[in-house]
Symmetry: C2
Subunit: 411 residues, 2 copies
Amino acid sequence: MKSDLPALMEAHKLDALLVFGDALHNPAMVYFTGVTHVTEAMLALRRGEQPLLFCHAMERDEAATSGLPTRSITDYKFSEILAASNGDLELAYARLYQRMLTDAGLTSGRVAVYGQRDAGRAFGLLSALGELLPDLEFVGEFGSSVLLEARATKDPAEIDRMRRIQKQTTEVVGQVADFLSRHRAQDSVLVDSEGQPVTVAKVKSKINLWLAERGLDNPHGTIFAPGAEGGVPHSMGSPDAVLRLGEPIVFDIFPVEAGGGYWADFTRTWCLGHASDGAQKLYDDVKFVFDTIVSELKPDTQCSTYQTRTCELFQQRGHPTVAEDPTTKVGFVHGLAHGLGLEVHERPAFGRDATPTDILRRGSVVTIEPGLYYPERGLGMRIEDAVFMRADGKPEILAEYPLDLVIPIRS
Amino acid sequence: MKSDLPALMEAHKLDALLVFGDALHNPAMVYFTGVTHVTEAMLALRRGEQPLLFCHAMERDEAATSGLPTRSITDYKFSEILAASNGDLELAYARLYQRMLTDAGLTSGRVAVYGQRDAGRAFGLLSALGELLPDLEFVGEFGSSVLLEARATKDPAEIDRMRRIQKQTTEVVGQVADFLSRHRAQDSVLVDSEGQPVTVAKVKSKINLWLAERGLDNPHGTIFAPGAEGGVPHSMGSPDAVLRLGEPIVFDIFPVEAGGGYWADFTRTWCLGHASDGAQKLYDDVKFVFDTIVSELKPDTQCSTYQTRTCELFQQRGHPTVAEDPTTKVGFVHGLAHGLGLEVHERPAFGRDATPTDILRRGSVVTIEPGLYYPERGLGMRIEDAVFMRADGKPEILAEYPLDLVIPIRS
């Protein structure tokens, strides 16, 4: 958590952190500022000190809501720097940031860099600044990072927010279940009162309204993928697809607090009316693995062990897994879990990019999401909850929701 | 526009473009792929060839909707690369991308880099790749860029989409006007049927619902800033603020196509019931400047001339401007205009970062948004439309909406 930063920075020999970009939909910045309408900003955090936020004058009131000391970028009079640089935008930007860094006391030492930006702009600016400030070493961590390590455990205030958005998300899931079960079937296809098929697009438009009513953003959309589409884990569901009784629908929903704060992540797979035999069998296996893994979660264990265990359990039930073939497209084809927070996927990692430093700890919030996929049989099945590892070492499902496979439908 | 890319790349001596990140809310990627649920991807475009999209297997169906040839990142078996790198994530990532670039035929030449990513990850990965592929020169343009130059003019298909979202946005603005005028005032404060004040939060919740009904995302929120808050251009409006008759409310709305495509951008300033004398005077001046500038727009002129002209017009009417003092917080305090497209601010630039290469052209889409700000007098005033420069050289307002200052209210 945030209070770990000074020690983590010391362990990684970092003198400062530098964050670029907006305070909206930018996890590294929002971690320090909260969500606020500040754009094209820079935050400098010297080890053990309070962060300093540079922002434009016309966003001064929004910046003040961060509670951080601020400096005005406007006061550097960029138009004059640009004129003095003979209209060379790159030279002017490099000089502007050189002056800001100097005023922040950052002219030497090791500085780790963060923030959502255009990759080329970041690379170009940092390369140019490295020449202007030769005693400053920019550190671009591209595996894990000091900031991701800090964010890999959450403090109580973060848990409150995550519990709230996960709960709001399950409320919307409940509204979707009610919406579906209010319909009837005709020739095994779900239809409305006028006999028109209920499409995936129709369901998603309802989801977006119900999320908006709760003030949540849904920038990545929602997976609502029936039949064969659900057999490919990240297929979103075609807008015109109809919903057939018996076939599984993978429903994976992952909204974020308005403006880009903490994310929820939640999946159920539903069959309308009844479950086909194939769907029921997959459900039984996925549910067994889900329950087993949740019951076995313990703090201070390596995350990769749960991935291994999941593959073992699925293999025992006759399913191919990524353990034997990392490119398999049938069976268990992805990671069991991932950290959840200001990004929908963050540390700790459980899947292909897990290392020995990815450890489940007290304060971790992770998804648990075993799944099975047989696209050529028209079948996909996934169950996902968000789990918080409490101080007493027990896992807590952040928002409980029934695990039922079948949504009853009037025939 | 996109068809200009080969010539632009040749002029800038670029052999290829490389785009990192998602195909959601990532302008550089979406420009080539469209909005689709592809995450942590890489797109390689060699000059004059078709782009090649690298994506993970579980997003293969989503990637296919781009219509581009694709390669599976999963087939590189990252877990095996990581094991062969002794668990060193950075080494493993560098080797993975080295192999992908090699397979894309990119082992030498000058390659410009784009895409929303963490700044440190981009800097670190590109620095490491530069050592593994010494004949490849990564170019990080951090002023304007070849891609931004191409995007600075739009083709007819882009204009259709931009006209559509700007029109949808003005429909929502009309709903807000109707909503406000259905209320009455009590002691000069707008109240609902139960006598409760209509707050900024209430108005914004309606805006988000009406945007969601149209399938639009609103990741940066909406400015609905009454009185003194509207006197600071980017203050969003406090949730609990109430709406008083006569005082100006700056209403700046900028949604984006679902998943992060083209943006709308639109501002009106309204007074409820009647306009105070101060508000009316500011409105008259802003409206005069708005009409004058729109009438003077001509293709193939430098954008900075319109900024200069705006300052001149406001100065003639007695207002301070950024022309005399770039740090002024009263009068005309910002840029007149900016390019609009896959980013809410893109090229061409008109304000402090405008260069002689920022030229208004046939095919440009720009905002025109003069404004005046007197926060200590509780006054802010801005009018903004999106303007498309047609092939015949005439400006077209993308979505017409009345410029009236006063919203009638029952007294």
